[in-house]
C-alpha cells in the first residue's frame, strides 16, 4: 500500500513541470507521477492535495545545528524537527561546532546523530582549515569519505587569499564545493551592524557594504583562476550581487545564496537595539534589499538558505555590542519566500528552484526533483494559509527570531523524507 498525493499542483523545475498531478509514494520512493485522475486510488492511502503545492523536498544548504558542543542552543534532533516543521527535507550544517567539524570523526558523529534523530537528511559541511583557524588545510579526502558534502570556515572568512586559492584547488581535487563566508575582516573592524544612516544615529560601529563586496570579488577571481567550484554564502549587498553577476557572465564556476532576512528586513530593524536584528553579514538598507530581490529574480542568486543560527537568551539578552550574531530561520523561510511570490518578485517555480532544485544540484546530494524512482523527499505547501509567527510554537530550541508576530501568507503543511511523514500541520 502506498501513499497517494491527489490533485496537488506539482511544481518540479527539474522536469520543467507545473501541473495538477497525482503522485504515488511506495517503498520510500516516488513510484508514479501522472496527470490528475490517472492513478487508481485502490489500495492506497489517499491524501487530498487540492489547493496545495507539491514540491521536491526543500534543502536548506546553510544551517547551524550547534551539535556537538552547544546543545543548549540546538541539537541535531531539535534542529531536524525545526527543519521538518519549516518544510525542509534536508539541511547542510556548518562546521563551527565545538569541536569544529574538521575531522572525519566529527563528520561521522554528526551523521550518526542525524540517523538517531530520524528527522531530515543532514549533510555535514566540513571546515576549510584545521580548527577554522585559516592556517592549515583540513583533510578533505578523508572528510569527503566520511560524508562531508562541502567545505567552509563559515562564521569566519578565509582571510589569507593564498590559503583560499589552495583550498579551492585542493577541494577541486576531491570534487568538493567550497562555500565562502566572504568578509574583509579589516574593513569590518569591530562593527556590529551595517555602516549607514542607522548606525550613525545609534552610535553603533558600522560594517561597510564594501567589506562583503571586495571579499566576494576576491573569491570570484580565485574561482576563475583555479576553475574550482565556489559558492558564496549569505549574500547581502547590491555590490556582491553585481560582482557575482559579472563573474557568472565570464563563466566563473560560482553559485550564491541569500537568506530570507536579507530580502525581508532592512537595517532599520536594529532600531531600539534589537539584538534579534544582529547578524553577520548585517541587515542592509532598502537599496541592497531591492538588489537581493532582483538577484533572486534574475537567477544571479541561486538559492535561498536560512543561515539558521540558534542562540539562547544568554547570547541575545545582553548589550547589543556583546550579543551574538545570527537568527533562527528554518521555520519562517518558506513563509517569507511565499511572501516574495505574493509580491511578484519570484514565481512559484523560481521559489522551488531556489529552495530545492538548485541547492540539490550545487551540493551534489541527490533529491531536488520528483522524478519517478527518486527518494520521496517532498514538501507540500499551502500557499494561501495565512499565519502569525509565534516563536513559542517553534520546534527549534532557540527563540531568536526577528519575525515574531509577523503575518505570513502560507506555509509547509506536510514534509516527507524517504516517504515518511516527518511533519504534518494540524489545524
Amino acid at each position: 500500500m502506498g501513499l497517494l498525493l491527489k490533485d496537488g499542483l506539482v511544481v518540479d523545475p527539474a522536469q520543467d513541470l507545473e501541473a495538477v498531478c497525482d503522485l504515488l509514494i511506495a517503498g520510500g520512493r516516488i513510484s508514479r507521477l501522472a496527470p490528475a485522475g490517472t492513478i487508481p486510488a485502490e489500495g492506497h492511502q489517499v491524501q487530498d492535495c487540492r489547493g496545495l503545492v507539491i514540491c521536491p523536498g526543500f534543502i536548506d544548504m546553510h544551517v547551524h545545528l550547534r551539535e556537538p558542543g552547544q546543545e543548549y542552543k540546538e541539537t541535531i534532533a531539535t534542529g531536524g524537527r525545526a527543519a521538518a516543521a519549516g518544510g525542509f527535507t534536508a539541511v547542510a550544517c556548518m562546521p563551527n561546532t565545538q569541536p569544529v567539524n574538521d575531522t572525519a570523526a566529527v563528520t561521522r558523529f554528526i551523521l550518526e546523530q542525524a540517523d538517531r534523530a530520524k528527522q531530515v537528511r543532514v549533510y555535514p559541511v566540513a571546515a576549510v582549515s584545521q580548527g577554522s583557524q585559516g592556517k592549515i588545510l583540513a583533510e578533505y579526502g578523508e572528510l569527503k569519505a566520511a560524508g562531508a558534502v562541502a567545505l567552509s570556515d563559515d562564521g569566519r572568512p578565509v582571510a589569507n587569499a593564498q590559503l583560499m586559492r589552495r583550498a579551492l584547488e585542493y577541494a577541486h581535487t576531491f570534487g568538493l564545493l567550497v562555500i565562502s563566508h566572504a568578509e574583509d575582516l579589516d574593513l569590518a573592524g569591530n562593527g556590529v551592524m551595517h555602516e549607514g544612516l542607522v548606525s550613525v544615529q545609534m552610535g553603533l560601529r558600522g560594517i561597510p557594504a564594501a567589506a562583503e563586496t571586495v571579499a566576494v570579488f576576491r573569491d570570484c577571481e580565485l574561482a576563475r583562476l583555479t576553475g574550482a567550484r565556489l559558492h558564496i554564502a549569505h549574500v547581502s549587498t547590491a555590490g556582491a550581487v553585481e560582482v557575482i553577476r559579472w563573474a557568472k557572465v565570464r563563466g566563473a564556476p560560482v553559485t550564491a545564496e541569500t537568506a530570507p532576512h536579507y530580502f525581508s528586513l532592512t537595517d532599520e530593524a536594529v532600531r531600539g537595539f534589537n539584538t534579534n536584528a544582529k547578524m553577520n553579514p548585517p541587515l542592509r538598507p532598502a537599496a541592497d534589499v531591492a538588489a537581493i530581490k532582483q538577484g533572486l529574480g534574475d537567477g544571479t542568486l541561486d538559492c535561498i538558505a536560512t543561515d539558521h543560527a540558534p542562540h539562547s537568551v544568554l547570547e541575545k539578552e545582553v548589550e547589543f555590542d556583546q550579543a551574538a550574531n545570527g537568527i533562527i530561520g528554518l521555520e519562517t523561510a518558506v513563509g517569507l519566500s511565499l511572501k516574495l511570490v505574493q509580491e511578484g518578485v519570484l514565481t512559484l517555480r523560481q521559489m522551488v528552484a531556489s529552495l530545492s532544485t538548485h541547492p540539490a544540484r550545487i551540493l551534489g546530494v541527490g533529491g531536488g526533483t520528483l522524478q519517478e524512482g527518486q527518494p520521496a523527499d517532498i514538501t507540500v505547501l499551502d500557499p494561501n494559509r495565512p499565519w502569525t509567527v509565534d516563536v513559542e510554537q517553534f520546534q527549534s530550541k532557540s527563540r531568536n527570531s526577528p519575525f515574531h508576530g509577523w503575518q505570513l501568507p502560507g506555509r509547509a503543511v506536510m514534509t516527507l523524507v524517504a516517504g515518511e511523514i516527518r511533519y504534518r500541520h494540524n489545524t
Partner: protein, 320 residues
C-alpha cells in the same frame, strides 16, 4: 511672561535615554527647571529637601570623574541618598550580566539608576527591564544627554536664545556621544549645526541628518556663535584615524587665529577633559570667550533638573 503650563512645557517620562527622542518643549522644560536650580549653588547651605527619601544609584561601567561627581552633587543638593558603583569592565565580563546586576540593584528599591556603559544601548536595555527611572550618563558612541543639556543651557544663558545660532562642532564626530547628543539637541532647538574634522572622523550620512559638513576648521568656525571642540582620543592614532598629534593640532585644533574668524562674542566650549595644545590651544581654553568651566557648573544644575523631573517634579521657569 508665559507660565510653564500655558506653554505646555512638561516632562513626563520614566527615563532619560537620549536627546534624539525629546521634543523642543521637553528640552525647554528641562532647561527652565535647571535655571531655577542654578541659584542653589550660590547659597551658603547648598541643599534643598526636594528629593529627601529618594535613592539614586550611579552605576558606572566606564571610568569617569566629572560626570559621576556632577550627578552625585546634583542628587545630594536635592537631599537624595546616593550610592556610587563603579564596575571594572574586566569583572563585568567574568561576572553577572548587566540585566542581573540591575535587577539586583532594583531589588533594593532605588528610585533612579544612572548608568554609564561602553556599549551603545545599554541604558535602553535596562530601561526596558526596570521599574526604576534610568538616566543615560553616556552609552558607547550613542548619546550623553545630560552633557547635551548642559551645553544647551550654557549657550542659552550666554546668548539668550538657541534659535538661529551657528554651532560649529569640531573633531571626532564618529566616536563622540557628546557630539550626537549635541547635534540632536541644538537641531531640535532651532540652531544650525556645522561639523568639521578629517573625513576619517566624520561618519557618513551627517548631511542626511541635517548637518552641514566640512573638512575645514576655518569654514566651520567662520561667523560661528559657538565653537565646540571635541576631545581627541589619543588611541585613535593607532587605529589609523589620523597621522600625528602635531598635524592634527595644526589642522583641527582651535587657536587664537581661528577664533578671530568666528563672531566676536563666540563662545568656546569643550566637554572635557582637555588635551591642551592638541584640540585646543591653552590661551583659547583659558581665554575670555571660554565657557568650559561654566559648562561644568551648569552640569550640576541640569542634572538636578533631570533628577527632579524624573521624580515627578513640575517643570518651572519660562521659555527663552
Amino acid at each position: 511672561m508665559q507660565t510653564v503650563e500655558a506653554q505646555g512645557l512638561r516632562f513626563r517620562r520614566k527615563d532619560l535615554l537620549g536627546l534624539a527622542d525629546l521634543s523642543r518643549a521637553e528640552i525647554q522644560a528641562i532647561l527652565n527647571t535647571a535655571v531655577s536650580f542654578q541659584e542653589i549653588a550660590t547659597r551658603s547651605i547648598k541643599k534643598v529637601p526636594t528629593l529627601r527619601g529618594k535613592t539614586v544609584i550611579t552605576l558606572f561601567y566606564e571610568p569617569s570623574t566629572r560626570t559621576r561627581t556632577s550627578f552625585e552633587i546634583a542628587a545630594k543638593r536635592l537631599s537624595a541618598d546616593t550610592v556610587n558603583l563603579t564596575v571594572a569592565a574586566s569583572s563585568a565580563v567574568k561576572g553577572e550580566t548587566l540585566i542581573d546586576t540591575a535587577k539586583n540593584l532594583e531589588a533594593m528599591a532605588p528610585d533612579i539608576i544612572i548608568i554609564r556603559h561602553a556599549c551603545s544601548g545599554a541604558p535602553h536595555l535596562l530601561a526596558s527591564r526596570l521599574h526604576s527611572s534610568v538616566v543615560n550618563a553616556g552609552d558607547g558612541l550613542h548619546e550623553h544627554p545630560t552633557q547635551g543639556l548642559l551645553d544647551l543651557l550654557t549657550v542659552w544663558e550666554a546668548k539668550g536664545r538657541l534659535d538661529g545660532l551657528k554651532i560649529a562642532i569640531i573633531g571626532d564626530i564618529a566616536h563622540s556621544r557628546v557630539a550626537r547628543s549635541n547635534i540632536h539637541g541644538f537641531r531640535t532647538m532651532g540652531s544650525r549645526v556645522v561639523v568639521a574634522g578629517p573625513q576619517t572622523m566624520l561618519p557618513p550620512y551627517l548631511a542626511e541628518l541635517g548637518m552641514e559638513v566640512t573638512y575645514s576648521l576655518a569654514e566651520a568656525v567662520a561667523d560661528a556663535d559657538v565653537i565646540m571642540m571635541l576631545r581627541l582620543q589619543l588611541e585613535r592614532q593607532g587605529q589609523m584615524f589620523f597621522s600625528t598629534l602635531r598635524e592634527y593640532s595644526r589642522f583641527f585644533g582651535l587657536n587664537t587665529e581661528h577664533l578671530k574668524l568666528a563672531k566676536p562674542d563666540a563662545l568656546v566650549m569643550h566637554p572635557g577633559p582637555l588635551n591642551r595644545g592638541v584640540e585646543i590651544a591653552p590661551e583659547v581654553a583659558d581665554g575670555l570667550q571660554s565657557a568650559i568651566l561654566r559648562q561644568v557648573t551648569n552640569g550640576v544644575a541640569v542634572r538636578m533638573a533631570v533628577l527632579y523631573l524624573l521624580s515627578g517634579g513640575e517643570a518651572s521657569g519660562t521659555a527663552a
